[in-house]
């Protein structure tokens, strides 16, 4: 009997021991290159950021960021596989390795960034947002105080849920949160009159309102409840991938700072090649300096990135500019030199 028991113990040890072959050193960046495809987690439900177009292709700022990543890492912006995720699913999807990158209007916060929290690593901010409230014009609600004891529709599992609570608590006001898992349900609950107001990032409110029957009947309150810097994110234990993503975003911003666009990129490359004195341009475009290699990419990754979707300003105009379906004025999202917040460290 003893023999049998020890046999069982040995066998189970043997079998369980086999799965212990995980290597912590390998970076996801190598895996992406090996696979030849980038798996990008997106929302898929927010016009202007990521939305399924008529032709069945995703469109939006978050999507263009995914394309820039693919262009920078793989040299081809079409090699992206999109995974639509809910707010609740997104972090687990990164940690389990289901997706490589999350480009899904995710707010950069301490808990999400830290290893003691969600354990992510955030790329630079791609959209500076703030949480707001939308109400119906006819309700005459003009401030947060007017919402006392009213119900507010909110998406669960978001920073939004916490922010609205913080604001009401700090003002010692009571309210009833009606929580839905999905932004579309939040909108439905609000439009059908279950709540007096809905809350979300102001960009999302604007995007939602653009799809309403009578957008002018709804107002977005002046109050800004929180800072919502939206960033792409990846697994926090993988520095190599995080570095690559960080500098791809900075490429977009530097390109706008330097006036390099999708149209003139070829000229700029030619110009840099013919003029050895343009040191910083040559470094940026990968002719000198070998910067790309240092972050595990090809030296001319910046050229590929700009060719794919253009610089940051072009991406913004295409998806959120005046002529787009969801016009949102740039304000904080201007370059630093134009009074906004976007600024890139030097490519040295």
């Amino acid at each position: 009997m003893h023999k049998l028991l020890s046999g069982i113990a040995f066998l189970s040890l043997l079998i369980t021991g086999c799965s212990n072959s995980y290597q912590k050193d390998s970076s996801r960046l190598d895996l992406i290159k090996e696979r030849g495809e980038l798996i990008c987690g997106v929302s898929g439900k927010i016009p202007g950021f990521s939305f399924l177009g008529i032709n069945g292709e995703y469109k939006g700022l978050d999507i263009d960021i995914c394309k820039s990543f693919a262009a920078g890492i793989l040299g081809d912006s079409n090699k992206v596989q999109y995974r639509p995720l809910t707010a609740a699913e997104r972090f687990t999807a990164i940690k389990t390795g289901e997706i490589d990158v999350l480009s899904r209007n995710t707010t950069f916060t301490l808990s999400r960034d830290s290893s003691g929290g969600n354990g992510l690593s955030f790329a630079p901010v791609v959209f500076y947002d703030g949480q707001g409230l939308m109400t119906k014009k006819e309700s005459n609600i003009k401030s947060i105080e007017d919402l006392e004891n009213k119900s507010i529709c909110v998406g669960s599992g978001t920073t939004t849920e916490q922010n609205i609570n913080d604001v009401f608590e700090s003002k010692s006001l009571q309210y009833t949160p009606i929580k839905y898992q999905d932004l579309n349900q939040v909108i439905a609950g609000y439009l059908q009159g279950r709540c007096s107001a809905m809350t979300s990032d102001r960009s999302q409110l604007a995007a939602a309102r653009s799809g309403f029957k009578n957008p002018e009947d709804h107002i977005i309150l002046e109050n800004i409840l929180s800072k919502e810097p939206l960033s792409p994110a990846s697994d926090g234990t993988d520095n190599k991938l995080a570095d690559a993503l960080r500098w791809i975003i900075f490429t977009l911003i530097t390109a706008e700072e330097e006036g390099i666009t999708k149209e003139n990129i070829d000229e700029k490359v030619k110009l840099a090649k013919n003029n050895p004195q343009l040191k910083s341009l040559r470094r940026f475009l990968g002719i000198d300096g070998g910067l790309g290699e240092k972050i595990g990419l090809s030296n001319d990754f910046t050229v590929n990135v700009i060719k794919a979707s253009g610089n940051y300003g072009e991406i913004y105009e295409r998806n959120l500019g005046k002529d787009s379906n969801v016009p949102i004025s740039r304000e904080l999202n201007e370059l630093f030199k134009n009074g906004g917040l976007h600024f890139s460290p030097p490519f040295n």
């Binding site: 808990s111 354990g119 978001t158 849920e161 916490q162 059908q192």
Partner: protein, 299 residues
């Protein structure tokens, strides 16, 4: 020799079970270490900092996650037991209508069962909530202050129920009642025809015969099916999240997002449902045993 073979076979089964479980647990632990998420339940005592629309006990966002989970659990139990009660009553009515002689009732109940059984529960819940309740006008039904139904919920005699809660109760009860109706019909049909003929020949009235002769004999066939439906109901209640009701699953979802402790949260969720369902099963089994042993008759 034959006995030996049996033992070896059973040993193989035990071994494979141990190895599969060992593999899964080992895998889990390795992955937890890899993602820096070792088991830890200390976050349960930290303040939740989210508000809840419905709570049976006092609750504020400065209360702990553990308290929030308890509130969610009470919200779930409230829904489960009220729906359990309502769906049983509705189910009995439907089951009896289907087996009865009244043609109109027969057609109506068949129609009801067909519609309800062939459509997904999630869709029905969405229907009751977004079309049923939220589609109502602000002054849809109003009798003084005693009875009100509108898109904010139901209010009668000082009791008020939110539209999320009401839609969930209606959705779950209606859905489960169709299945319970079929279970009851099956039980009644399982009683031999001779029993009907014999009570009729004794001059006992139709309803009296049904209650005193047929149902007592049908119960042993009904109870196991009923238990299944009750268990399904308890589990289906987690679909509350789709229509904005703060049940334990919805609160768990929020907590996972705030703390990133998915595995701990799912373990808590698994155990709470396991315990509840074991309770339901045992309760029903006790009833079943009583019926089978003592031959309880309903008077």
């Amino acid at each position: 020799m034959k006995r030996n073979k049996g033992i070896i076979f059973q040993l193989i089964i035990i071994l494979s079970f141990i190895s599969i479980f060992g593999f899964l647990i080992n895998n889990l632990i390795i992955n937890l270490i890899r993602t820096d998420l070792g088991f830890n339940f200390s976050w349960l005592l930290k303040p939740s900092s989210f508000a809840l629309a419905e709570h049976a006990l006092p609750y504020s966002p400065s209360d702990s996650y553990a308290w929030a989970l308890l509130i969610g659990w009470l919200n779930s139990l409230k829904v489960i037991f009220i729906s359990l009660f309502l769906s049983t009553i509705l189910g009995i009515m439907i089951g009896l209508s289907r087996t009865g002689k009244n043609t109109i009732l027969n057609i109506i109940s068949s129609f009801y069962i067909t519609i309800i059984r062939q459509t997904p529960l999630l869709l029905q819940l969405m229907f009751w909530y977004f079309v049923g309740f939220l589609g109502l006008k602000n002054n849809f039904l109003y009798f003084s202050n005693l009875f009100k139904i509108n898109n904010q919920g139901i209010e009668f005699f000082g009791l008020s129920f939110t539209s999320e809660f009401s839609a969930l109760i209606i959705g779950l009860s209606v859905f489960t009642s169709a299945f319970i109706g079929e279970v009851i019909r099956g039980g009644i049909i399982s009683v031999p025809k001779g029993q009907w003929e014999s009570f009729r020949s004794l001059g006992i009235s139709e309803s009296n015969g049904l209650i005193r002769v047929i149902i007592p004999q049908a119960l042993p066939a009904i109870i196991p099916g009923l238990t299944n439906q009750f268990l399904n109901l308890a589990k289906n209640s987690t679909l509350a999240i789709a229509i904005g009701y703060s049940d334990i699953y919805a609160i768990n979802d929020t907590i996972i997002n705030q703390t990133g402790r998915a595995i701990e949260c799912f373990i808590i969720l698994l155990f709470t449902f396991l315990i509840l369902n074991l309770l339901i099963t045992n309760l029903m089994e006790t009833i079943n045993k009583l019926i089978n042993k003592k031959k309880i008759y309903i008077n």
